[in-house]
């Protein structure tokens, strides 16, 4: 499938059940066309990781995911030598009596003993074309890894001292996500197309729920979305994302709920709010008030 316009991009993602606005589609389209990494920042649960999955599935490319964490180093991100295998090879050579130094070295540091980690895998040709490389939650790593990434992503090549330089025949589609638990350095952002993924509007969230939880009744979906949209306006420590809305709708579906009530909300609130302070805020009449407001808003529309 070729993508020649922003509409194509939107349709492509919609085909995978990923509903996105024109803005995000534009940025995604540009990223594919210009071969630039896409830097998505936003609150947790707004669909940043999902878009990588959707693009990979729609284009029939392999998705390679690098989950970042504090202290992530080259051994777990790029490559590592398989030392156990190398030891065995040394012992075998010794037992056979021919432990020639140069020969041993040439044999030990070959691709047979190389364990490829996500970044190196992404540089390799893959069936179906260049893979989608998802570097998830980059804000969790530290600055040294960011600096390393800067180099790897500008040339799409990795140097292994014992083997030489491995260069991607075709640059992978790179998507970086950040929850903004710290600021990622501007040098890295500058090389990417930036987009802040915001909470969706009421209509868009309805579309998302139709695509993701099609079994849910229309009336319930409307109430759920209206309630969550109201909730985002409250003074909460963590506002619920789209992922929470989808989870909640699925929970309500599993419980055979047809309409929201304060009791149902109290029972299932754990699917939407993940902090005890926030859940406590909504105890008692507070849930009833928000539900009433949400319903009033629905009738007004």
């Amino acid at each position: 499938m070729t993508i020649d316009s922003i509409e194509d991009m939107q349709n492509l993602l919609a085909g995978q059940g990923y509903v996105c606005g024109r803005a995000l589609a534009t940025v995604g389209f540009l990223s594919l066309k210009l071969g630039r990494p896409l830097f998505l920042e936003g609150e947790a649960g707004t669909g940043k990781t999902e878009i990588a999955k959707a693009i990979a599935a729609a284009l029939g490319r392999r998705l390679i995911r690098l989950q970042c964490y504090e202290g992530l180093d080259a051994a777990s991100a790029v490559y590592e030598w398989n030392f156990a295998e190398q030891m065995i090879a040394i012992r075998t050579a010794e037992a056979a009596g021919g432990a020639d130094r140069d020969l041993l070295r040439a044999e030990l540091f070959t691709e047979d003993y190389l364990i490829e980690r996500p970044l190196l895998q992404a540089m390799r040709p893959q069936p179906g074309g260049a893979p989608v490389l998802l570097i998830d939650e980059i804000d969790r790593t530290d600055e040294p890894f960011e600096a390393f990434l800067l180099e790897a992503l500008s040339d799409f090549q990795v140097t292994i001292p014992e083997l030489g330089t491995i260069k991607a025949p075709e640059p992978p589609i790179v998507i970086l996500t950040s929850n903004r638990t710290r600021e990622v350095h501007d040098a890295l952002k500058r090389r990417c197309l930036y987009h802040w993924v915001d909470y969706p509007t009421f209509d868009r969230e309805m579309e998302i729920l139709h695509a993701r939880v099609p079994e849910a009744a229309e009336a319930l979906t409307r109430e759920v979305v209206a309630f969550v949209q109201r909730l985002r306006g409250e003074d909460l420590f963590k506002r619920p994302g789209v992922a929470e809305t989808i989870d909640w709708a699925k929970c309500l579906l599993a419980l055979d709920v047809v309409a929201l009530s304060p009791e149902v909300i109290a029972d299932t609130l754990g699917a939407v709010l993940k902090y005890q302070d926030d859940i406590q805020r909504l105890q008692g009449t507070e849930a009833q008030r928000i539900l009433d407001e949400a319903r009033a808003g629905l009738e007004g529309a």
């Binding site: 030392f83 030891m87 530290d142 929850n179 500058r190 930036y194 003074d235």
Partner: protein, 421 residues
């Protein structure tokens, strides 16, 4: 992200010129837009085409914006520029001092501002009128008051006494002597030093030098890194004697890279929370303090500790407390917040931070009274509590922070609180 580009395709239109001008306007509005980004933007617009204004907007947005807080400035600049570039040129002259007030202030001599205010008799500067635009249109275009410095909101800013040479020397001594009250954080990253972790790679390479015989087992150990520091400083009237020393301290540790704390974030609060981190990054301590004094609007006013900490939890804690940060809270704990809720806010803060150290300069043992409800609410949620220290000087402050290894005076005061019921 390849570095080599084909030369820009020839276009007959004036679009590349306009995009370049637009980028200049953005740069003057404070966005970090370099020439590389301009080339990208032109290329991106050519790829995306511009059949629709919204597409054009988002295409440029993707290329020029890299921080959420820049989105507003971008939106405003876009709206003004693509309506009439010539008008914007004029407007920038008016907008600049507000948007980039920081840089401008740096060049101003101390006192120059007051002199100007005195001469102008507190009058507002007049908006420069655009050259070619008729008056009616200028009225129709609502000038973004949000970007201008608002005089109504200026409750009180502060001019600090400049730092003397002796104080400068003392700050250096303080930094050299300061001991940190926290253990460094063990990173998952390792380094080539003798330690408990095996270093297979170097072991194998060493053995290869001997034809495959393993003669020594090389090990690694985990690297340690200093935690980030977040300083929350009370600048209400009752704390006024201490704010200068505290800001000097924050400035000194912010600029002592690699000597203790990794990153330093600083906030002031009185009736509202103000982030002064970027001012503290300046090399010159007087300029930094002047900027901070002008930024925070609530110097020596009332105190709303609960509201300030709630605001910090909501807007900043996830962004600055992420990587094992230590919080230093400098306040007298006399909360005047009508809404209350201090204990909830403090609990949330202590759950998000690795350690909360509270320095209370005003509280002394003999003056301790049970009616201080703020103290009652805050004390259970701090890791370490220091009272009655002389932190009006840099040295006293560094000592107090350095001594916060244990719970400090917390057990004593907690016991007193229990006795009082």
């Amino acid at each position: 992200m390849t570095a080599t580009y084909a030369p820009l395709p020839e276009t007959d239109g004036r679009l590349p010129d306009n995009i370049t001008h637009f980028a200049r306007a953005l740069r003057r509005a404070g966005l970090p837009v370099g020439p590389g980004r301009v080339a990208d933007a032109i290329r991106a617009v050519q790829v995306a085409g511009f059949t629709e204004r919204a597409d054009f907007y988002w295409t440029l947005h993707a290329c020029f914006v890299s921080r959420p807080e820049h989105r507003q400035v971008f939106a405003q600049t876009f709206r003004l520029f693509w309506r009439d570039p010539a008008f914007l040129e004029h407007m920038m002259a008016f907008l600049r001092p507000a948007v980039r007030g920081v840089q401008d202030e740096e060049q101003a001599n101390p006192g120059a501002k007051r002199a100007a205010e005195a001469l102008l008799d507190g009058q507002e500067r007049e908006v420069p009128k655009p050259r070619d635009t008729p008056e009616t249109e200028a009225v129709e275009i609502d000038i973004d008051a949000s970007l201008t410095a608002s005089s109504e909101e200026r409750l009180r800013t502060l001019d600090f006494e400049q730092m003397t040479g002796a104080e400068m020397a003392e700050a250096k001594r303080m930094l050299a002597r300061m001991t940190l009250p926290i253990r460094p954080i063990l990173s998952r990253r390792t380094m080539a030093r003798p330690g408990p972790l095996p270093d297979w790679r170097r072991t194998l390479r060493a053995s290869l030098r001997r034809g495959g015989e393993i003669t020594e087992f090389v090990t690694r150990k985990r690297r340690e890194r200093p935690p980030n520091l977040v300083v929350l400083c009370d600048i209400s009237g009752s704390m006024s004697a201490y704010s200068r020393a505290v800001l000097h301290f924050v400035h000194a540790v912010s600029n002592a890279k690699g000597q203790g704390w990794a990153r330093v974030h600083a906030f002031t609060f009185g009736t509202r929370l103000t982030n002064i981190t970027r001012h503290m990054d300046r090399r010159d301590v007087d300029a930094a303090l002047r900027a901070a004094g002008a930024e925070a609007q609530d110097w020596e006013g009332g105190t709303r500790i609960a509201g300030a900490i709630r605001a910090f939890n909501r807007d900043w804690s996830r962004r600055v407390l992420g990587q094992g940060a230590v919080v230093i809270l400098i306040t007298d704990g006399l909360d005047r917040d009508p809404d209350g809720g201090l204990d909830k806010a403090m609990e949330r803060l202590s759950l998000s931070a690795r350690q909360v150290i509270w320095l209370n300069p005003l509280l002394r043992w003999d003056g301790f009274a049970p009616k201080a409800s703020g103290i009652r609410a805050m004390l259970p949620h701090v890791t370490s509590f220091r009272a009655g220290h002389n932190i009006a000087s840099l040295q006293g402050l560094a000592q107090a922070i350095g001594a916060a290894r244990d719970a400090g005076d917390k057990p004593r005061y907690m016991a007193a609180l229990r006795d009082q019921g």
